[in-house]
């Protein structure tokens, strides 16, 4: 066993895990509130990355300096992803609030298919090169052989987003309302909480974290295409289930467990079967511990 190789794998796994965590948060928050797997979540992430690419290219061509480009591209990506998330909920999920779960799920799959092909038709089906938005920081130069600056930014950003999100949910009025809504929608509305608004906010927050994830992974891998959201979305969902769906710390934990184990698996076993590995984890966790690592057992009531 080569320790340097293992270190590289672990760092790669942490980067992967961070991205999964950013996306898994959106899944887990939406699931916590309306018990729906938002299939189109991966597509929001893809749209975030595309918006970032378009805005940054336009700004660079008009001669804006590097820092401004990063700022405006990130802002545009996040704002647009939020708008898409909001519209998605209004069109595909709100009219189905009281419909059977199967209907909502099919509607979600339809939305995912729609967004994917919308970007495919309006933009391109090919891979687009994504500019490296994150500069090579001077102070990080001595360590860059261990871990690139991009990877550092990914891990740090994820940590910051996690902390902010935890603060939002634990200590603000909106967070309290979210927790109340996820426990009991009718009771929450009786206590004066605008449930529809809270659901919209949940979608917006989830979309924002997905867009951040999209931008970070795009500048890490250096290319994007219209299909990028689907598989990552599914894997982030696996991470959310692994940690216990509906639980925010669970999603983060699950994401890191999945990222690390996947990285080690591809490093030591086979990279061809990387995706099979993630799906196998999903099947195993659902068979042996469906509530996930941090989730509580739920009994079905009549």
């Amino acid at each position: 066993m080569n320790p340097e190789y293992l270190t590289a794998l672990i760092l790669g796994g942490l980067t992967r895990g961070s991205i999964y965590a950013l996306i898994a948060l959106g899944y887990t928050m939406v699931y916590g509130i309306i018990q729906l797997i938002n299939f189109a979540h991966g597509e929001i992430y893809m749209i975030g990355a595309f918006t970032g690419l378009i805005v940054s290219t336009v700004l660079t061509m008009h001669g804006m300096p590097g820092f401004g480009v990063v700022f405006f591209a990130a802002a545009a990506a996040i704002i647009y992803a939020c708008c898409y998330g909001y519209t998605l909920e209004k069109i595909a999920y709100k009219p189905l609030r009281h419909a059977p779960r199967l209907s909502v799920l099919i509607s979600a799959i339809g939305m995912s298919l729609f967004f994917q092909n919308y970007v495919l038709l309006a933009q391109t089906s090919n891979f687009l090169p994504f500019p490296g938005l994150i500069p090579d920081f001077e102070f990080w130069k001595p360590y860059s052989h261990v871990m690139s600056a991009t990877e550092l930014v990914i891990i740090v950003t994820t940590a910051i987003v996690m902390v902010l999100l935890t603060l939002l949910i634990k200590f603000t009025r909106i967070g309290k309302a979210m927790r109340a809504t996820s426990q009991d929608k009718i009771m929450a509305s009786l206590l004066g909480i605008n449930v529809n608004q809270i659901i919209s906010i949940t979608f917006i927050v989830g979309s924002a974290t997905a867009a951040i994830g999209g931008l970070l992974i795009a500048s890490h891998t250096g290319q994007i295409n219209a299909y990028m959201g689907f598989l990552v979305g599914i894997k982030a969902f696996v991470a959310a289930v692994l940690g216990g769906i509906g639980s925010i710390p669970g999603a983060v934990l699950g994401a890191f467990v999945l990222g690390l184990s996947e990285s080690v698996f591809t490093g030591y076993v086979s990279s061809d079967y990387e995706d099979v590995f993630a799906f196998l984890i999903l099947v195993l966790i659902l068979i042996f511990r469906p509530s996930g690592i941090l989730g509580r057992d739920q009994t079905q009531k009549v």
Binding site: Y80, I106, I109, G110, P131
Partner: protein, 407 residues
């Protein structure tokens, strides 16, 4: 008096502006990162605005109508199509006419048309199979294409290695499909609907990835070519005759499928499926073995997919893993949902419509998948029952007493 109209126009305008803003970066700007040029497509913004203006008005109108219908105490109004289907004097001659049309079809039209019809009928078969799982038993299976792949690869490989013919492999393909259905069904029995969707999706992808990477077994992404068409008593048929022969085989298979599923729906198993779909707990309380019933649904649904796969391999003469992506499963699901979950006539119409229309509207081809996505959403929002809704067998109380209670 003009207020509602003005109000509507205002709402539509807001929607138009919102969608123009929303689609701005993706619809209007197209960057070419290699030549470093930007293409501003302002026309698209105009189209989006106009489209959103009118569509949002239609959307709101439809939503209001839906609400009104729900408020009218869900009166059991059958649609015209359903009424026509129930009239025996009409439905029997119609079926006969349809049969005659199906029989003469390959002789009236070209081989190209016949080929298109064969693939449409394969989708009818797949749709009817998936209808058992999704429409009757209410289990959302997003990996249905995996069983289709199993059937197709079963024929291709058994033919390649052992020289087995179409007729031998057809039941084998169905059987293998069922075995895989049980293999998948067994571990996921305890899962609720949405988890089931993800796990089946994962299963479908696993099968595809294995087919792509296990070169020694499946010849990888290159696929398998020169798969023979079925033989007729060892006669030496021309290509067009073989196509017509295959067409009749699939027509017979579809009729067989319809017959079996029709019988199944009325059987004990079929009723158990419908009960399971409506309420799992109540169903178990009535003494139905949940595990067995679900496994049967998976196995029977997968059987048709396996047989469909064999026909597919025989039709295209070449298969590779790219034909069995998750989106294929979604298309099949779309045919079931659009046609009407649980309704046999609905699924047949849905599959024919959704597969044939894009074939004939060639220019429309690139919009195929985006339309499917929109169809899934719109169907769920406005007509969850599909084009031709399944008529549930109900027992009607017609005595005076019950009427008194209700009024």
């Amino acid at each position: 008096m003009n207020m509602p109209v003005l109000n509507e126009i205002k709402k539509s305008l807001i929607a138009a502006i919102w969608f123009m803003f929303l689609t701005f970066p993706i619809m209007v700007i197209k960057v070419n990162t290699i030549t470093r040029t930007i293409d501003w497509r302002w026309k698209n913004m105009m189209y989006t605005g106009i489209g959103a203006f009118f569509l949002s008005a239609v959307w709101r109108y439809m939503l209001r109508r839906k609400e009104k219908n729900q408020n009218a105490l869900e009166k059991e109004g059958l649609s015209i199509v359903q009424k026509i289907l129930q009239v025996k004097t009409f439905s029997i001659p119609a079926t006969v006419l349809l049969l005659i049309f199906a029989i003469v079809f390959p002789h009236l039209f070209s081989m190209h048309q016949t080929n298109i019809m064969i693939s449409a009928l394969i989708y009818v078969m797949l749709g009817l199979g998936l209808n058992i799982v999704v429409g009757l038993a209410g289990l959302l299976d997003l990996g249905y294409v995996a069983f289709f792949a199993v059937g197709a690869y079963a024929y291709a490989l058994l033919n390649l290695h052992f020289g087995l013919g179409f007729w031998t492999v057809l039941p084998v393909g169905g059987f293998l499909g069922a075995v895989f259905g049980i293999l998948l069904g067994y571990p996921v029995l305890r899962l609720r609907g949405d988890y089931l969707a993800i796990v089946t999706l994962g299963f479908g992808e696993i099968i595809r990835i294995i087919l792509e990477n296990w070169n020694e077994f499946s010849f990888g992404p290159a696929g398998i070519a020169n798969i023979p068409k079925p033989e007729l008593f060892g006669l030496d048929l021309s290509l067009s005759a073989k196509t017509i022969y295959l067409y009749y085989i699939i027509v017979l298979l579809v009729i067989f499928t319809v017959f079996v599923i029709n019988r199944l729906t009325d059987s004990r198993i079929g009723r158990a499926w419908i009960a399971l779909k409506d309420d799992e707990i109540a169903c178990q309380a009535m003494g139905i073995d949940k595990a067995k019933t679900k496994l049967r649904a998976f196995a029977l649904g997968a059987t048709w997919a396996g047989m469909g796969g064999v026909v597919f391999a025989a039709k295209t003469a070449f298969i590779n893993p790219a034909s069995f992506t998750i989106w294929e499963s979604v298309i099949i699901l779309c045919t079931v949902v659009a046609g009407g979950m649980g309704s046999i006539v609905g699924v047949i119409c849905g599959a024919l419509l959704l597969i044939l229309l894009p074939e004939y509207l060639r220019d429309f081809g690139q919009f195929r998948m985006i339309t499917f996505g929109a169809v899934l959403v719109l169907m769920m929002v406005f007509r969850p029952g599909g084009m031709i809704e399944n008529v549930r067998r109900t027992y009607q109380f017609k005595t005076g007493e019950t009427n008194d209670i209700h009024s």
